[in-house]
């Protein structure tokens, strides 16, 4: 098991070679000073919207891209400039990138043959990996004869046989259908717990990130916005980007002077179900309701605690308060659920006392 660390990583992509020579190639900063470390045996998830640089970061760690600035360290050694071959990394691609002309067995032993391992040793390892991933009966088939889930397992087996220092996974579940994805997610997690290899996993799907990661690094425009456990990034987002990117529906943000007051939809409940005592009440004009897997999503406009803002409340099935579109109802949030952000910078701000005011008071 190894640590994987990146320090001050910057990666710029230039436009076309000719455009660069004419001095008008537009430079894209895919990575803009990334510092990040994965502990030995850790499952670190890189989460972010498309184009945030998460795949570039993964490819830079793999050695498929060279950083413009900064260092990549694996097991404490700087590996900048070293080809992927000597970095002892294994990668599972989004497309799985199985060799279409080779059988499953030949796909799996390919990394071992590149290492010039003896044949019987190779066969033993391949059998071990196939057994671990339950693909023994598929060994003689070609990739095109496999289903998506089977291909993913073959790609994992190919990554696994070499017993790499680090696993890099680039959205390995995005080509599976929704049902397969849930099963595969569970399998991936149990599999990593068994082999205990340091794993870096790239995804844009927050459910995957929350479910798989020991820690999540949220990226946006080439910068790390927050690193923390799933609970930390959900409950204590470092800025408004993380607050609104994670959570479905996202955190509600209400402007109040030069602050943004944030609260999760599941914490905005009809006043009568919020424990009395300390609570921040606010009137909510109900506009529309959705009934999603037992929960009621209530779309409406709150006033009172700040500027009038459209928000979403998620009421669990246990809350049966009758609500009608077009009517106003008093909702409340427990004060310790509130999060505050600087309205200009979007960064976290210290808590301030907030009170809701009477129904219709802000109008």
């Amino acid at each position: 098991m190894h640590t994987v660390q990146v320090q001050g990583l910057v990666k710029t992509f230039d436009g076309h070679v000719r455009a660069r020579r004419r001095g008008r190639g537009d430079r894209v900063r895919a990575l803009d000073g990334v510092d990040l470390a994965a502990e030995p045996g850790e499952y670190l998830v890189l989460l972010g919207p498309s184009g945030c640089g998460k795949t570039t970061l993964l490819r830079t760690i793999a050695g498929l891209e060279q950083p413009t600035e900064g260092e990549v360290l694996i097991g404490g050694h700087v590996v900048n400039g070293l080809p992927p071959r000597v970095r002892q990394v294994a990668m599972v691609f989004q497309s799985y990138a199985l060799y279409p002309h080779k059988t499953v067995r030949d796909n799996i032993v390919f990394p071992l043959r590149a290492e010039r391992m003896a044949r019987d040793e190779r066969e033993r390892k391949a059998a071990w990996a196939a057994d671990l991933l339950d693909i023994g009966p598929l060994m003689g088939r070609k990739p095109r004869q496999l289903s998506g889930g089977e291909r993913q397992r073959v790609a994992l087996a190919r990554a696994l046989v070499r017993e790499p220092a680090v696993f890099l996974l680039d959205e390995p579940l995005s080509n599976l259908d929704a049902k397969m994805r849930a099963t595969a997610r569970d399998e991936l997690k149990r599999f990593q717990e068994r082999v205990g290899t340091t794993t870096i996993y790239v995804t844009h799907d927050q459910a995957e990130a929350m479910g798989l990661g020991d820690r999540i690094a949220v990226l946006e425009r080439g910068r790390v916005r927050q690193v923390g456990t799933p609970q930390e990034v959900y409950d204590d987002p470092a800025d408004t980007f993380v607050a609104t990117f994670i959570g479905s529906p996202p955190m509600n943000l209400v402007r109040r002077d030069d602050l943004l007051v944030g609260f999760r939809p599941e914490h905005l409940l009809p006043e009568e179900v919020v424990p009395s005592g300390e609570r921040v009440a606010m009137p909510l004009r109900v506009e529309r309701m959705e009934y999603l897997s037992g929960d009621r999503h209530v779309y409406g406009t709150v006033s009172g605690i700040g500027e009038e803002t459209r928000v979403i409340a998620r009421l669990p099935a246990t809350v049966t308060t009758p609500l009608v579109a077009g009517e106003e109802h008093r909702f409340a949030v427990e004060p310790h659920r509130l999060r505050f952000f600087d309205a200009e910078e979007g960064t976290r701000a210290p808590a301030v006392p907030v009170d809701g005011g009477p129904i219709g008071g802000a109008r």
């Binding site: 070679v17 793999a62 071959r85 497309s95 060799y99 990394p111 590149a114 070499r162």
Partner: protein, 311 residues
Amino acid sequence: MTSTRTEAATAAPDVRGKARLADREGFLAWAMLLPSVVYIVALVGVPFLLAIAFAFSDVTTGDPSFDFVGFDNFRAVFDDGVFWRALRNTLVFTLASMVLIVVFGKILANILVADFHGKWFVRFLVLLPWTTPVALSTISWLWFLDSIYSPVDWVLRHLGLIDGNVVWLGRPGTAMASVVAVQAWRLTPLAAVIVMAGLVAIPRDIDEAARIDGAGFWRRMVEVTIPLTLPVIAVAALFGAIMTFTDMTVSYVLTRGGPTHATDVLASWAYFRGIEGGDVGQGAAIALFLFPLLLAGAIAILRAVRRLEAG
């Protein structure tokens, strides 16, 4: 409510309109295929049937009257040692050129897909032999390989590799080597472009996966790139073979089939016999020998293409 429904009815397209000419695919297919069908029948089909007819006749340029003579022409051709020599030359010429074309085409294709400064210039240079008219480029090769003033000889002499002049086109072995070299030089760009299309079609992921899996340049080349481009390489090889097999320009311009028929191929021998020698019947009989091999080549190409489509 009523008013909105009326509006919707008037807004709906008029379904009674006729299908226009552009919609009638069956007719269009015929209309658009017809020119090429006429073209092929007139310029390939008719000459082919004429060639078969002439092969069994005593037509000469001096006496164009048609008399059926059975297999006389074939008998005469078979009795002539030059025919067998030309047949052997054709096979040597084709095989050697094809191998060179594929090997150099593959190497050039790798250069064509690489990304570096001044790549457009290199691409231009690579494609130049293909775009130059054959007769023109072959004449410049004629100068290159001249018996007295050859720059090739001059360079080799100054490097101390040879003493006198090689006289490339004057000796059977070097003459054949020269013809093969020029043909390979001429067709390599075509093969390179074909193979390049195959290289570009390989998903980048697969090459990167092989890198991560620890494979070096040669292992990636032999185990991943070449197997994945094999159908395309086969197409390039067959194109090269067919274009070489039927070609007579290079040997005609460079050596006129000499010295002593050392570089005569079926096509040039058919031409010398049938057109320059005037014995149209014999020329046609010789030319017919191109047919079975070309047919096999065409079938092989179609098979390779089908395998490509099946992916």
